[in-house]
Amino acid sequence: MTTEDTTTETVAEESSNDPTNDDMLIQTDVSESVSASGTESTRTIVESRNVNVWYDDDQALQDISMEIPENQVTAMIGPSGCGKSTFLRCINRMNDLIDAARVEGELYLGGKNVYDADVDPVALRRRVGMVFQKPNPFPKSIRENVLYGLKVQGIEVDEDEIVEQSLRRAALWDEVKDRLDESGLELSGGQQQRLCIARAIAPDPEVLLMDEPASALDPIATSQIEDLIDDLAEQYTVVIVTHNMQQAARISDKTAVFLTGGELVEFDDTQKIFENPESDRVEDYITGKFG
């Protein structure tokens, strides 16, 4: 895997093509765009253009094009196996880790195609945090879990403060404040998931990808996480996969509906998707008529 140094070199070499490209990969001059409903104007932070993904010979995503607005919550819904996780993992290039996976198309983060040869996936993932579908805390102490991202990124901080703040935001602080040195694996499944959320937000990513972060949580923790997401959307862009329609309707500004086969069927303001979708298939899916 390339290190930051080599990337910087590559960038320097190729910067003639793209003179604005000095900060590793992403300039913050995000393009201006108008959302489909035309009611509100916002900047696009993540834009996919004709993204196709294959696992060996099976196509998991077909020609996905969408513009994810900055500082908003974008929900992805759709039946199991339709490619929501796959799309999420395209954004921070986690699919690079799967030998069988092949990604085609362009995916821009703040105007820079993250699949360009000069992009270092390590640097990318430092700016795009991720909470996985299955809780995966490290077999380390709760504190070390929260501080992991800062440690690998070499960021110096007031550790106690960051630990408390991140755990508070993830609605876990009260349950673990007296046992921060215990292993993260000793927590319950739902607590582990919240620990993973705390871990993901601790290093302050610009974009936070959340793959069903609330699937293992009770209603109280779920609503706390929803509050957190609301909160986060003031400063960060949140992309969240969920199977819970009410949740998507409650917390998101935009909703993308994927359907079986890896198609993006509709992408629009959440209100429009839930009240008056263009596509009958989307309407069927949302009202539960779709299998």
Partner: protein, 333 residues
């Protein structure tokens, strides 16, 4: 299945059907035979050892010289000719081999395991891992020959012109090479068993491959890695052929120098020990066996005294290994 024969289906005794009974008996007999063999060997070892120690020899009706347990364990001279049977020089030889081998094999073995598990592409791993394991199958006499014919001359030419023809250094180097596959193979298994979720979590946080390998995978696999260390060290302790050939047959207690002065002077073992011929517990046993092949003499009986000492050391290592494995085991479900 209909509801009417539900009762029937619940009461059939599959547990005691002839087939199950036969299988159970077969497995029991196999287990019993191997346990019996082990118990038998230990029994022989213990009873033979009792003929050597003066404390117990009387009970066995042994006539002829014996050695007290204390003299045996604290004696600083081992000499068949003068009937001095102190185990310390041999223990010192064994320890030298173990330390030298561990210095080589533990870091190299773990590094190899990290490479195989984290860096090598599946194709490379597919060929490299079995190839390494072949290294473990080379007869150890070949390693002894290799030490004498190649390593010692190389050491003599380039590093230590005064090195003995037989010496602890070349023997410990080959024993180290011999146990690398054990460390790397068991450690690699432990690292491969670390769930990919954890690696993904690391990469997802912006960790590099190095961060993930050393900061996540190795700690998560640490119990397996420690077990591999202990097994490899046990193997080095018990290694016989290579050290008999390469290390020599001169029982010698390591000398100590001191660093510092007065109250803060700290003794340290003199590294020059590695350049001299020594003798390990195992190679002494080989020599004793040949020195009195008909048995009965004190030299022959001392073989079992050394044997039981080795056995106790290895037993402690095994217990330690189990303890380490359970102490550092992580549960991922």
């Amino acid at each position: 299945m209909g509801a009417d024969n539900l009762d029937d289906s619940l009461t059939t005794q599959t547990e005691n059907s002839p087939r199950e009974l036969l299988a159970r008996s077969f497995f029991f007999v196999c287990a019993f035979v191997s346990i019996l063999t082990t118990v038998g060997i230990v029994f022989v070892l213990v009873t033979e050892a009792t003929t050597f120690f003066s404390e117990t020899a009387g009970l066995r009706g042994v006539t002829g010289p014996t050695v007290s347990i204390v003299d045996f364990l604290t004696g600083t001279e081992f000499s068949i000719a003068s009937e001095q049977f102190g185990v310390l020089p041999l223990l010192s030889g064994t320890l030298a081999i173990v330390v030298g081998a561990a210095v080589i094999a533990l870091p190299l073995g773990v590094a190899t395991a990290i490479y195989l598990s984290e860096y090598a592409d599946p194709q490379t791993r597919k060929y490299l891992k079995p190839a390494l394991e072949i290294l473990a199958g080379v007869p150890t006499v070949i390693y002894g020959y290799f030490a004498v014919e190649y390593i010692t001359p190389l050491l003599e030419r380039y590093l230590f012109p005064d090195i003995g023809f037989f010496n602890a250094l070349s023997a410990s180097i080959v024993v180290g090479i011999m146990i690398i596959p054990m460390v790397s193979s068991i450690s690699e298994d432990a690292m491969s068993a670390v769930p990919d979720d954890l690696r993904e979590a690391g990469y997802g946080m912006g960790a590099t491959k190095f961060d993930v390998s050393t900061g996540i995978v190795v700690p998560a696999a640490i119990s397996g890695i420690f077990s591999s260390f202990i097994l490899a060290i046990s193997r080095a302790i018990g290694e016989t052929m290579a050290v008999t050939i390469a290390a020599g047959a001169s029982p010698k207690l390591v000398e100590f120098g001191t660093v510092g002065a007065g109250p803060v002077s700290v003794p340290y073992p003199d590294p020059a020990y590695f350049l001299e011929p020594i003798q390990t517990m195992t190679s002494a046993m080989v020599q004793l066996l040949f020195s009195d092949i008909t048995g009965g003499g004190v030299a022959y009986r001392s073989l079992f005294g050394i044997g039981i000492t080795l056995f106790v050391i290895t037993l402690i290592m095994n217990v330690l290994s189990d303890w380490v494995a359970s102490r550092y085991q992580e549960d991922y479900d």
